[in-house]
């Protein structure tokens, strides 16, 4: 009997050891999606803050005990730690990733050709395809919102930071940090350092404890386009660096009788935000808890716009006159325009077809304690689908961020590449392109200004705030010269804070 018990015990121990040794090295990463059965809405909400803390501690504690078998990792959906991401096995899964964007057909073809390269080279058999989901960011936003409600989101799409925050409010978008920090699939230290840090920072969302709700594949900035020939004729040898000189030059240039103006006012809240930044102000308070554009910087901005319209130094570009500021600039009808750097090739084309003059770009005039530039550009967000698809989407984003790809994309679109190492390649390519020619040197300047980057507001509900800034506040100051800018700003901030509260995560 004793012998039997002893033999049984030995057998059990052997069986247990065999079981452990079989299970430990491959913790069946593909099966764990079972945890997706965990109520989908609860999982990400409950854990996101703890998860990012794990990656740094986990390897350190596991390492000193090589004899002890590592615990099998349960992969939640979405994965909340790099270890969970490491545990996902994509081999043989043949995952398909759909990427919704708003680029025109020519850029869709370029994007798809890049993805075709990815499809050929990735070892996991992932198939990525790009799809045009609309003609603008709001179109994509509308389509993604509808798709989320129908529980059929794409694997990834372009999304502004505030839009990603809105999706995150419904747990529909995933935190990219665990993927980024994954040892197996993430970015190496060298690669991470090569990314422009200012670009990476923009996707960490203060409303969701700095979760990374998107990843940059391109960026642009609000710059000032200047008709240099005209400026020299007015007696200015250099681009005005302060607001007072700038306003003086704009008013000197204006002649309403011949329909020439110093500044083309483009309907866009970024126009206002860029000026507030350049005066040392902010749109959203640093802690993300309230709006702050009713500061002195905001008042000075509105007062100047009001004054310029009163003195007929500026012209309003109606909403319906699409790209009117660009056309008028090209025709030599406006001296200054504030617009995205991504439009530089279009401005070059417009001038070449129009009044053919020398032009340049510059930072907006500055009066803050330190220079500031409004950095914008949508990122790529990953939607909650399955851990395998989420990982596949991350690998697509990672591929698009590689030096070769980001350089190719930037050279074709006029956006900024996301890696520092790609800068020279892009400039060299642009210099060879007759459509860019001398403008490539102007483009190169933006890299020097990236250090001054500011972003408007990455929180959910920023779109209506933008609408109020532009359609109400700005429209009022340029039509009613008696309205008090401070009161307008205070009212707008009050309403913006109400929207912020309404859109706060529940």
């Amino acid at each position: 009997m004793r012998t039997f018990k002893f033999v049984s015990l030995i057998a059990l121990v052997i069986l247990a050891l065999v079981a452990v040794s079989c299970a430990a090295p491959t913790p069946e990463p593909t099966k764990p999606p079972a945890p997706t059965a965990v109520p989908a809405t609860k999982a990400p909400a409950a854990e996101p803050t703890k998860a990012p803390a794990q990656p740094t501690t986990a390897p350190a504690t596991a390492a000193p005990k090589p004899t002890e078998a590592p615990k099998p990792v349960t992969v939640t959906n979405p994965p909340t730690s790099p270890e969970m991401v490491d545990a996902i096995d994509l081999m043989g899964k043949k995952v398909t990733v759909t990427y919704w964007h708003q680029r025109p057909q020519a850029q869709q073809e370029l994007l798809q050709s890049m993805l075709d390269e990815f499809n050929k080279t990735n070892p996991y058999g992932i198939t990525a395809k790009a799809e045009i989901a609309g003609a603008s960011y709001p179109d994509v936003y509308t389509k993604v919102s509808a798709a989320i409600q129908a529980s059929q989101p794409p694997e990834m799409s372009v999304a502004y930071q505030n839009q990603a925050a809105f999706y995150r409010g419904s747990n529909a978008v995933v935190n990219i940090d665990p993927f980024l920090k994954s040892k197996k699939y993430g970015l190496s230290e060298a690669d991470a350092k090569d990314y422009v840090q200012a670009f990476l920072d923009t996707d960490q969302n203060p409303q969701f404890k700095n979760e990374r709700l998107g990843f940059p594949t391109q960026r642009s900035a609000e710059v000032m386009y200047v008709n240099m020939d005209w400026l020299k004729k007015l007696g200015y040898n250099e681009i005005p660096k302060d607001w007072k000189t700038w306003e003086e030059a704009a008013c000197k240039a204006a002649d309403p009788a011949t329909k020439k103006y110093g500044w083309a006012f483009r309907h866009d809240a970024s126009n206002f935000a860029s000026q507030v930044f350049s005066r040392g102000g902010r749109i959203l308070a640093a802690d993300g808890q309230s709006y702050a554009f009713n500061s002195q910087a905001g008042v000075d901005t509105l007062a100047m716009i009001q004054r310029m319209f009163k003195n007929k130094c500026a012209v309003e570009i109606p909403v319906a006159e699409r790209n009117g500021e660009q056309t008028r600039f090209g025709n030599g009808e406006v001296l200054f325009v504030f617009a995205s750097s991504s439009g530089m090739s279009f401005y070059q084309d417009s001038v070449a077809k129009g009044a053919k003059f020398a032009w340049d770009i510059s930072l907006l005039p500055q009066s803050g304690a330190k220079p500031a530039m409004n950095l914008y550009g949508a990122s790529a967000s990953i939607y909650k689908t399955t851990p395998e698809k989420e990982l596949a989407a991350w690998l697509v984003i990672k591929f698009l961020g590689e030096k070769t790809q980001t350089a190719k994309w930037a050279a074709a679109t006029g956006y900024l590449p996301v890696r520092q190492s790609a800068k020279q390649d892009v400039i060299d390519t642009l210099k060879k392109n007759p459509a860019w020619g001398p403008v490539a040197d102007s483009y190169a300047k933006i890299f020097d200004w990236v250090q001054y980057s500011m972003i408007e507001s990455p929180v959910a509900g920023y779109d209506p705030v933008r609408d109020n800034i532009d359609k109400k506040m700005m429209t009022l100051v340029l039509t009613d010269f008696t309205v008090d800018p401070k009161k307008l700003l205070d009212d707008a901030v009050k309403e913006a804070n109400q929207i912020l509260k309404e859109n706060a995560p529940k």
Binding site: T41, P138, T142, S145, I148, Q149, F166, Y167, G169, S170, A172, K259, V315, E316, P318, V319, A320, E321, A460, G461, D463, P464, D467, K471, K472, T475, L476, T479, I499, E502, N503, K506
Partner: protein, 332 residues
Amino acid sequence: MATRSVEMTGVTTTRRSSVRIWRRAQEVSLGYLLLAPTLIILIVFEIFPIFYGLYISACDWRLTCVDFIGINNYLRAFDDSAVWQSLLVTATYSIIAVPVQLGLGLGLAYLLFQKVRGQQFFRVLFFTPYITSTVASAAVWSFLYNQDKGLINAILTRLGLPAFRWLGERTGVFQLLANNFNVDLPGWADGPSLAMVALVIYTTWVFVGYDIAIFLAGLGNIPTELYDAAKVDGASGWTLFRHITFPLLSPTTFFLLILTVIGTFKAFNHIWVMTQGGPVDATTTTSIYIFKQLFQFNRYGYSAALSFILFAVILALTIFQNRFAGRRVVYD
């Protein structure tokens, strides 16, 4: 024997009645089978979305229903001054657009009904804007209205008149006129904004062709004998119009009135293309306000509730018109 005969009759009657029931069941089933595709389409695309919309309107909806809040979205609408303002803008738009559109439509239809040269050409000419894409024509009109590049201001300035901001002008038209005499009118006497008037001009240009087509059909249905008899009695052109044409055209006018009022209350496309509800909120009709609440403010539940409120307003208006204007319609 007699008993057997009665039994036989009973059996036959039972058989006949079961055959009748079977046939009836077959007929009914066939009927429902034939109706099924239409019913399915109606349920899936009409009835279900209505009830789903109702459900969304009772939720704090953030891509899913995060909180069931009952009638709170409806109560919120009553406290929202912007909703009342948008209804006022919609009513103003309707009050100006409907009479202008119907009056002009009737006048032009009456002219085209006479024997005039190039009648067919004018009919096609007036109808063309109606079949043109609204978005495309609204974009073209936006450019015509452009303050310093548009054709309208170019003509006005050539004539020595001032250029207007048109779609960008929220000042009332009466105040704009009074400005010429340096008179400042009280707020209530400002009149509709110039942007609103610009929209009405566009709306009239688009829809007058449709009104003409319907009025022409109505005019064709009036018996010519009535005109002949009246002429024999010495009736003049105006008398003929007032006592024969207008009363007998009333069913057509009533039909167009209901359609036009509903149309103006639902108007969206051209307003969005031309002004997006601006300047400030001068042309923010209820439809535009609902759209903004949904797509810019992410207020799904609230915008759904507003849609039902707008539906109720349109329904109430239609019932009101049916009750009061319907009484004056002459059908014979």
